[in-house]
């Protein structure tokens, strides 16, 4: 009897030990994760792919990089115009080809080193070096010799040309000269764009020496990464959050209000919204489409124009889609208002051009519509029921002219290709339905998983394919240069020599209005040939705590944590007084006494009214 009893004790001991161990693990996991709420918490929607500015391309990555690095210029949070960043001033030669940047002498890296022109030469060389494999390298190909440097590669992967063939050099410690191959009016926007941010040479080289095998990750660890922006990364947990804290060495630290910011990596829109509604998050950038009507009346949801275009690509290499009359018929028949009002619902604009709504100093060119057409006009003149009926009648006429329709050849079935998503499916259904009703075309829906969808699109394995494009910088060029013959993002098989010539000439045109005319002429060709069918122009989807200041919307939907602050009750009330009558006031959690930067506090003490933090509201 003694033996089994002992065994029983042993067993009980074992299970107790196991249980204890488990509990210990649980408590440790929680203990390690414990963290105070940051001043501002926002949902960045996904885990970012890397902190290395040279190799990233995504919007969520941009949100983090703008907080921790700073380029030669920064953008105005409202107008997106270039403002001094690491460069306190610059000169541009009369032909628009030579930029001379004068760096500010008080700019420091977080390791205490001054930021110099040599840092930019090093960083841009690294960025262009084929071995860095930068996806965005072409953003710097406007510089003399840069494209050749990146693309001509020896057998060992190294560039064939020396960096002295590239038009980037440091004239002295604080002066950087950049020579461009063609005048690029948006170049100062690019210098504020994250791929062109500088990295610290010592940071990388010390990691290379200390970790010969793993330096690629080691230099980016929060404890080692050297940056030059308003915030630094304190902690980073995969798929959880990035904790940012104020950088006291930042040259304008006096203007920075927040001490800590958390960027969460929550992928579900619904969870993000739940967190926002319970006050745990202060800003989310996407909401489920089905909830938009309920959010619209709230003061914290105010969609503004966003520099993006939703459109369908047409495979012009298919015989039945090669006729531009057919493509025009397809474009005219679409009921865009049904899509913007019943499916996406946030105030997106039905759109008849490729370059999106909102670009100042440029008139988007719409495709030709029925006789009374108003192009991209607002309201009923643009897309009311009467206009739609006229457009659809015109579509039937064009379709018959091309030899299809009742009594003529039957039109082959079209496959409407999109990536798996409810919204895309709903839109495709509306489009397929109108094509069937108006033109008698049978359109099948074909959805594919994202990467397969991209592959199909690149290989022209589709008939009509759902697409979208968001501008990288505020210029029509970011849209129009896609469709040059053979361009890697063309993906329609379409090409037009005159179009190519116009785009090429616009690159060398220094005069802004002449350049604008060239681009408008190019868009007119694109909208005459219609290798793409425009559908709508985007709006932003931000839901922001009304108390958060320094957060003006802008066309690129870029936010700058450097300007953020908490308003006190008084300022919040003043802002609410200016709200349109149809907006309802919602809860605005956060410090009721506000949180202002030292500079703002001084301005407030001086009694100059509401603080602006240098950022226009």
């Amino acid at each position: 009897m003694a033996r089994p009893v002992r065994r029983l004790w042993w067993r009980q001991g074992l299970s107790l030990a196991l249980l204890g161990g488990l509990l210990f693990l649980v408590l440790r996991a929680i203990g390690a994760a414990r963290i105070e709420r940051a001043d501002v918490v926002f949902n960045n929607s996904t885990e970012i792919s890397t902190l290395d500015p040279a190799t990233v391309t995504g919007v969520p990555e941009g949100r983090i990089l703008r907080a921790i690095f700073e380029g030669l210029t920064i953008k105005d949070p409202l107008t997106l115009e270039a403002r001094p960043g690491m460069a306190e001033r610059w000169e541009v030669s009369a032909d628009g080809l030579v930029y001379t940047f004068h760096l500010r002498p008080d700019a420091l890296w977080t390791n205490g080193d001054p930021v110099t022109a040599h840092d930019f030469v090093y960083s841009w060389k690294r960025f262009l070096d084929p071995r860095t494999a930068a996806e965005y390298a072409y953003q710097l190909w406007y510089v003399v010799g840069a494209e050749t440097f990146s693309t001509q590669v020896g057998p060992d992967g190294a560039p064939l040309n020396g960096f002295d063939t590239v038009g980037i050099r440091a004239l002295d410690t604080l002066t950087l000269e950049v020579r461009l191959a063609a005048p690029t009016p948006f170049f100062l926007q690019l210098t504020a764009f994250y791929p062109l941010y500088p990295v610290n040479r010592r940071n990388i080289e010390e990691a290379q020496a200390a970790f010969p095998d793993t330096w690629q990750y080691e230099w980016l660890r929060p404890e080692r990464l050297v940056t030059n922006g308003p915030f630094v990364i304190k902690e980073r947990r995969v798929n959880d959050r990035i904790r940012l804290v104020k950088n006291t060495r930042y040259w304008a630290a006096d203007e920075v209000a927040l001490n800590t910011i958390d960027a969460l990596a929550i992928e579900s829109y619904l969870t993000g919204l739940n967190l926002y509604l319970s006050g745990e998050v202060d800003w989310i950038n996407l909401v489920p489409a089905s909830l938009v009507p309920r959010l619209l009346p709230r003061e914290d949801f105010d969609p503004t124009p966003y520099f993006g275009s939703y459109f369908y690509r047409v495979n012009t290499t298919k015989p039945h889609l090669a006729d531009k009359r057919v493509r025009r018929a397809l474009a005219l028949a679409i009921d865009r208002r049904a899509i913007t009002e019943k499916i996406v619902k946030s105030g997106q604009r039905p759109w008849y051009s490729f370059v999106p709504y909102g670009m100042e100093g440029y008139t988007a060119q719409s495709f030709a519509r029925a006789s009374s057409a108003q192009g991209n006009a607002d309201g009923d003149a643009g897309d009311g029921p009467a206009q739609l009926a006229a457009d659809q009648a015109e579509a039937v006429r064009l379709f018959a002219e091309a030899g299809y329709g009742p009594g003529a050849r039957p039109f082959p079935t079209i496959e409407l290709h999109y990536n798996t998503s409810e919204t895309h499916r709903d839109i495709a259904e509306v489009v397929a339905d109108t094509w069937k009703r108006v033109l008698g075309i049978d359109a099948k829906l074909l959805n594919q998983e994202w990467k397969v969808y991209l592959d199909t699109q690149s290989n022209l394995g589709y008939d009509v394919s759902r697409s979208a494009w968001i501008g990288d910088y505020l210029d029509p060029n970011t849209f129009l240069d896609m469709f040059v013959t053979g361009g890697e993002n063309n993906k329609t098989g379409w090409g037009n020599a005159e179009y190519d010539a116009l785009i090429r000439r616009s690159r060398f045109e220094v005069d802004p209005s002449a350049r604008r005319e060239l681009l408008e002429a190019a868009e007119r060709i694109l909208m005459d040939e219609l290798p793409i069918l425009p559908i709508y122009s985007y709006v932003t989807q931000n839901v922001v705590n009304p108390r958060l200041g320094g957060f003006p919307g802008n066309l690129l939907d870029e936010q700058f944590p450097r300007f953020w602050y908490w308003m006190d009750d008084e300022e919040l009330a003043a802002r609410r007084a200016a709200l349109p009558a149809d907006q309802t006031v919602v809860d605005a959690p956060g410090p009721r006494e506000g949180l202002y930067s030292p500079a703002q506090m001084r301005r407030r003490a001086a009694g100059s009214g509401a603080p602006t933090n240098g950022a226009p509201e």
Binding site: V26, A33, S49, E135, S150, V238, L264
Partner: protein, 361 residues
Amino acid sequence: MIPFLLRRLLWFAITLLGVVTISFFLMRAVRGGPFDGERRLHPAIEANLAARYNLDWPLWRQYLQYLGPFNLRADGIGGLLVVEDEAARLAKPAREQAQGSTVRFGSNVWTFTGDIGPRPFGGVLTGDLGPSFKYRDFTVNDIIGQSLPISVALGSVALLWALVLGLTAGIGSALWRGTRVDLGLRLVATLGIALPNFVIAAFLILLFAFLVPVLPVAGWGRAEHMILPGFALGAPFAAYIARLTRTGMLEVLSQDHIRTARAKGLPEWLILLRHALKGGVLPVVSYLGPATAGILTGSLVIERLFGIPGTGSHFVNSALNRDYTLSMGVTILYTVLVYTLNTLVDLAYTLLDPRIRLEES
């Protein structure tokens, strides 16, 4: 027991190699690559990227490189093994010193010169699952190392809760067989099995985060963050355990040794806990292996709904992102978990059921 474990280990190695090989080639056979995005890359840049990650190699070579431990980056297969004196090595420029993987034996340094350029894969055989293609600041080992403890913590809470509730309900059901209590418990259990955990989670969030705001809606970092997801994750398992326990208990309660115990005049609760439970929970024990693996890795929906940074999301996202190495990494992790847990269950069986001997299995 030792021969049993050795045999298991051998089969484990074979299974793992099979899983690695098949999933490696399956993954590469799928259309689309890790660097395909909305913006198609310039062909030259695409080639640069492929070269950096060895994607321009023939598949067999990528496979061998992934499997390791050889480094195939240098021209030809392998590299040169150079043996030199520590002092001689230090005399060389820092750049050259940094090249190659080195091992020290006394004052000799053995350098494998095959390693040039970016970090090579150490190979799965050395325990190095390689760099992630999507989360480029982390190795797959880093990612699993950070997310697995979170999934384990959440899974433990869910499992404990499932066991406590399931066993109690199952025993109660068996004890009061045929009464209203039994009926009620069985109804709830059926409901628990039928309702997917995300439906339960949605109800819980609505109830405890919005109607009666006592718990956080989502997030990770405090103990109260585990309550709702733990409950939602464990609920279907609790229901299943309740049913298994009830069946197991009823079977044991009808056996001779229980009648003997009753005849001896032992109190009913003692009979239940000491004599019946041991046999009654056997089906639960065998269910625990797959259940634990399922809870630890199958919490995808719950983790997504509650914004918990565990391993769950990587199972789906890595495949969608064509993050070859991460997807392989979590597949390997799953294989190891299932295999280990099943072995533990078999071991537990011998402790609980004297009729079973491992040597015979």
